[in-house]
Subunit: 330 residues, 2 copies
């Protein structure tokens, strides 16, 4: 038995969650519903303009790993924070959830701080993310422990990391070590605009290394350049063994072995959409490592997503195992 | 018209909110339902033992002032944080709510950090508070701006501050400046054990300076040394012009001018009791400055308390003005 079921690699972030309306988004020139990268000056001015906020550990892959740990999976996370108060919060919350986390912190003297994402949640529950990467931008191959990568069934790579100058090499090192020991590679596309910035690199990795691709409708259309949803799904399915493509309230489309499943979403009152895709991936991957069939993986993913969008914050609060049991999945 | 209706002085804290059960409290030797002071070592070990947490600005008087600002009151806060990430969060959240906040931050080189309160919320919604004071302990007379104290209708003093070595002098300076300009003084007793540590100093201040005393059943009993609730209420009413004594789900007892009002609590599903007393005081004080009668002040206080205990965190999230209006109070 491998030590880990899933090791995630991504942007280590603390979310700063504030509520505002669409007028605020327009005035602040924030693109609704997506992630935009901001620098420290913008982070300072934007933070000054939002109302009272809550600080909750986030980071896309870190949310996924927190979900897997919450479910009792053997899991670890790799992503860089600074030795500062927000970095301590990030590390605590992951470890307290039961995930291993050993990435060396950037020293407290580093110029950049721990990354943070100013998440504006509008009354419709949609989230618009403004990401100051800080030290997490500098994750490098030195931060990849090849022994750890050889000890996991899956690595889970966050597409947002394609924006980091050294993280292509870090991903390559992790993939080589993981696959060399018989492990498999999952990738989440993360964001349509990040894909547009790095489409060729994404596609090379998908075709050459990825076994399981997580994405949503906007991302797969960006990846396969707007050939229509069904065409994009088919292209993805020809590139990787398993595709799991979420489509908001329309549920998830899964393709593998020439087969196709559509699993409906779980109707929920959306309070804060942050983390829906992350927790879908976490529950799906956990279910896969437990030997469940792909349709059940999708059902568990949808249930986990429905839990996380029912409250503020991108990590599970209710007992997901109990939720799966109450739906007859365990 | 004075610039401010209420200026609060208290412990500036960021709350670290985590859920745990009574067994955890017993194992960690945490006294349930009260505030206990802890040092940095204990803060570190306790934090390491709790699950994933949320960081939300807190501080008893700061919550009260945030409530007054939320209601549109003219208000300011005095309390010390450090120039660190948690200090920036505390300052942002108060200002973003509309309160003035100008206390000079302790320099980033200070040995102590911004104060934090590790709040363990049990399934019954009760909160058990573990307070690392950090730099907020060192609030001194130098931090009191006499011009500001002369420009406010009320000062609101947090009893917890009696634990600070220099804050008796800081309170005295604020009281002199405020009363000298025709202002009035409100005090919250904060905590039965804090009262036990400083009973004589509390009583001297109450008798000599306080116009409006906020407390709860346990606190007034500690203050007047267990003479029975009615006797304690009567003693308090002989010491100050107005007494507002909350009694959890039994509502609030108000005494003034030889009269007595009992205002029932608003039935609520308790998610997190943190801030109930703070928001009661905030809404009560705001209502008083708006010229409402004492019974209405009590009703608004109870409604505000019911809002804040219905969610995680000690500051209002729903529109309190709308809540008062829907109950026919505005």
């Amino acid at each position: 038995m491998k030590k880990y079921q899933v090791v995630g690699i991504g942007n280590a972030m603390v979310d700063v969650l504030a509520r505002a309306d669409d007028v605020f988004l327009a005035d602040a020139k924030i693109e609704k519903g997506i992630m935009q990268l901001i620098d420290m000056d913008r982070a300072v001015s934007l933070y000054a303009s939002v109302g009272p906020a809550k600080e909750i550990s986030g980071g896309s892959a870190a949310n996924t790993i927190a979900g897997i740990a919450h479910l009792g999976g053997r899991t670890a996370y790799v992503g860089k924070v600074k030795n500062d108060q927000l970095g301590a919060i990030f590390a605590h919350d992951l470890r307290a959830q039961g995930a291993d986390y050993a990435t060396v912190m950037a020293p407290s003297t580093a110029a950049a701080e721990t990354g943070r994402c100013i998440v504006i949640v509008t009354p419709d529950g949609e989230r618009s993310m403004n990401t100051y990467l800080g030290v997490t931008e500098f994750l490098s191959p030195d931060d990849i422990d090849v022994a750890q990568m050889a000890q996991t069934e899956w690595i889970y790579l966050e597409g947002y990391r394609f924006d980091g100058p050294e993280s292509h090499a870090a991903f390559a090192k992790a993939i080589t070590a993981c696959k060399g020991a018989g492990g498999r590679v999952a990738l989440t596309l993360s964001d349509p605009f990040c894909i547009a910035r790095h489409r060729a690199a994404f596609h090379d990795m998908i075709r050459d290394h990825v076994d399981l691709l997580f994405c949503n409708r906007a991302e797969i259309l960006s990846m396969y350049q707007n050939d229509g949803f069904d065409t994009a799904l088919a292209k993805a399915a020809s590139d990787v063994a398993i595709v799991a493509c979420t489509d908001s309230e329309n549920g998830v489309h899964i393709r593998a072995d020439g087969k196709h499943w559509h699993v409906p979403a779980v109707p929920t009152q959306i309070v804060d959409a942050t983390g829906a895709g992350d927790l879908f991936a976490g529950a799906f991957l956990w279910a896969l490592t437990q030997g469940h069939d792909l349709e059940t993986c999708g059902r568990m993913g949808n249930l986990a997503a429905s839990e996380v969008i029912s409250h503020i914050g991108a990590r599970p609060e209710a007992d997901l195992t109990g939720l799966f049991r109450s739906h007859g999945l365990l």
